[in-house]
Amino acid sequence: MIVPMKKYSFLIYHKDYVEFLDRLRDVGVLHVIEKQTGEIEDENLRNNYGYVNQLNATIKFLKRRNIDQEPEIEGKDGMVILEELQGIENERESNLQKLAVLKKDILTLEPWGDFSISDIRRLKSHGLTIRFWITSASKFKEEWLSEYNLEVITESGGQKYFIIIQQEDEKIEIDAEEVRLPESSLSELNEQYRDTHQIIKKSDDVLDLYAKKYIPLLEKTRDDIIQTIDYEKVILSTEKQAEDKLMLLEGWVPVDKEKDLLDFLDKKGILYVQSKPGKDDKIPIKLKNTWFARLFEPIGKLYSLPNYSEIDLTPFFAPFFMLFFGFCLGDAGYGLLFVIIATFVKRKIKPELKSLLTLVQFLGISTVIMGILTGTLFGIPLFETNLPVYSDIQRQFQKRNTDINQQMFNWALMLGAIQIIYGMFLRAFNKIKQFGFRYSISTFGWIIALLSAGLIYIAGKGQNTDILLIAGYIMFSFGGVMVLFFNSPDKNILINFGLGIYDVYSMLTSLIGDLLSYIRLFALGVSSAILGFVFNEIAIGMSPDIPVLKQIVFLIIILFGHGINIFMATLGSFVHPMRLTFVEFYKNAGFSGGGKEYKPFKK
């Protein structure tokens, strides 16, 4: 259920405001109504968001260095450390780039060997220019040797590297590529490379030192800034009144936490106004459910929190979700694995994740039960074995010319019909809660009409069921009248009839689609069982007759195959029941959603 909220408005003298906010944060129950404008415009806030991002990135970077920690928090300023680290990182980046350029230059210069640039310059000052050329060995012409002062330096990779000593204005026309060489000699470049490499290594050591000592400090700095951001957001949401002498702050408090707030307000003598939520207010949502339904709250949150005026559907979809998951995965062996692993991991995990593992245990139990009912254990089709109960039931099936798969198909549709009708009941009660009984009449009419249609169908198939048949027809007409004439209580009867016809058309088409959607439960359940069976067959068929090798190959195929199957089938068994909940069930239950989560201003 959704916890009821009360609206509080406070009027504080501006000089007392900071202390008031500090105390309010200690109490930690007020969800502040945020003013939409001003948040992005405030430079301070933007800067703080920026710092948090930078700190997060730096913490991640340092953690990746995987150094043992020796934390040192005393006497250091986290922001100073951040700045130092950013400086080191920038320098390291530019050094890495320098290294890349040096490498490129070294590769260019290497074929030419180590010669002195000053020699080249001296020759040039005497009118002799040394020019450097590359061409492919096939394009090289021997006559160039006699035409020019050409000397081949080296040949590699099919390319000839040669120089021509050009005298004064001598013209050189050859089909080759001239290269511009770097200004430094090869040995100079190599030395620079080594030096830069050393510098980078030194900065790596410095970074390791920072990683060793300062990660907790950076994390604390980040958390402090996040606190400051919350604080600043509250300040921005405060309205200034009476020439900025009075501060007006508004917020929501859940009724179960009201006492804490009232104690604080009375003790400090603070002026406040308390009011009930109005129709247009966007009230934050705090859910309160039994321990079982609470396990499923994270699933509901994946889609949307309910809005304040409607019913929280978590406790209603929870058992269905569990059942559908088990139906889709449908293998007792896989379910058992989930239960065992979850129980084992639960003991070693931190408290926040315990409820997630409890959920896994329940889903596992449901899978075991459905696996037993549908006769699958690690892909083994139990109905085709000689096991006591299963072989008896299989004989019964064969007598009636059916099998477990046909039954599963029917069960899937039946579960779908049950959830849809259940959803419609919830919609009817929701309407009563929000608008009053008159508005729920047409929904009840639909429920009656559908149930009586089902009754007519069953009665039509049986014998001596005339009374049931008549009862069915009467109920159906009754329901029909409710649908056609009571769908819009505040309009006249002719409009009701017209809207009723339209309602019949749209409802019928959507109901058929919704019901058929539940076939996916059958498809998923059957396919995971078959795939398990197929992998068993492959493992048996492909293991050779050699003694030890046979077992090893068998084991590998089984582990690999069932591993893939568990992963894919679990994913599908999670996603499709979720889709059935959020689309078919929520639609029929009239869920609108869009609620905002309750986030109190606290430390």
Binding site: N405, R520, V526, I530, L531, E537, M568, V575
Partner: protein, 151 residues
């Protein structure tokens, strides 16, 4: 023409088309991964899982082959009913596997690109990628049920 030819054509379509679809699907996702690695190297685990997702249709095709292509009926005495059933099953699983794998690969590729760009969309992409897969699953179930009708 002997009916057995039709049966084997069906089996060929089943394995080939779904395998081709998976090959295309994982390639599309794999290409996106290489691009995303340039921007965000650390999320390779997520990329790998998403790239592997379209691979299941090929598995379904092979699984279908195992269900329909093994057993006693695949011999020269096969009836037209049986070979027609196998052909139908092969065609339906092959076609659905082909297109659903390619499209699933495109969904996964978009998710991979999103993660590479720094958005936290892994979980939701996984959820969305399961939707095209459903039709391959339905086709696989249909192929299985056809087997039940023809033996």
């Amino acid at each position: 023409m002997d009916p057995i030819i039709l049966a084997y054509i069906g089996l060929a379509l089943m394995v080939a088309l779904s395998g081709v679809g998976s090959a295309y699907g994982v390639t599309i996702a794999g290409n996106a991964t290489i691009g995303a690695l340039k921007k965000n190297e650390e999320a390779f685990g997520s990329y790998m899982i998403l790239t592997a997702m379209p691979g299941s249709q090929g598995l379904y095709g092979f699984g279908g082959f195992f269900i329909l292509g093994t057993g006693d009926i695949l011999n020269l005495d096969i009836t037209w009913l049986q070979s027609g059933g196998i052909f139908g099953a092969g065609l339906l699983l092959g076609l659905v596997g082909l297109f659903s794998a390619i499209r699933q690969g495109q969904v996964c590729a978009n998710g991979i690109a999103g993660i590479g760009a720094g958005y936290d969309v892994f979980g939701r992409t996984l959820i969305l990628a399961v939707f095209p897969e459903l039709y391959a699953i339905v086709a696989f179930a249909a192929a299985f049920l056809i087997k039940g009708l023809i033996v």
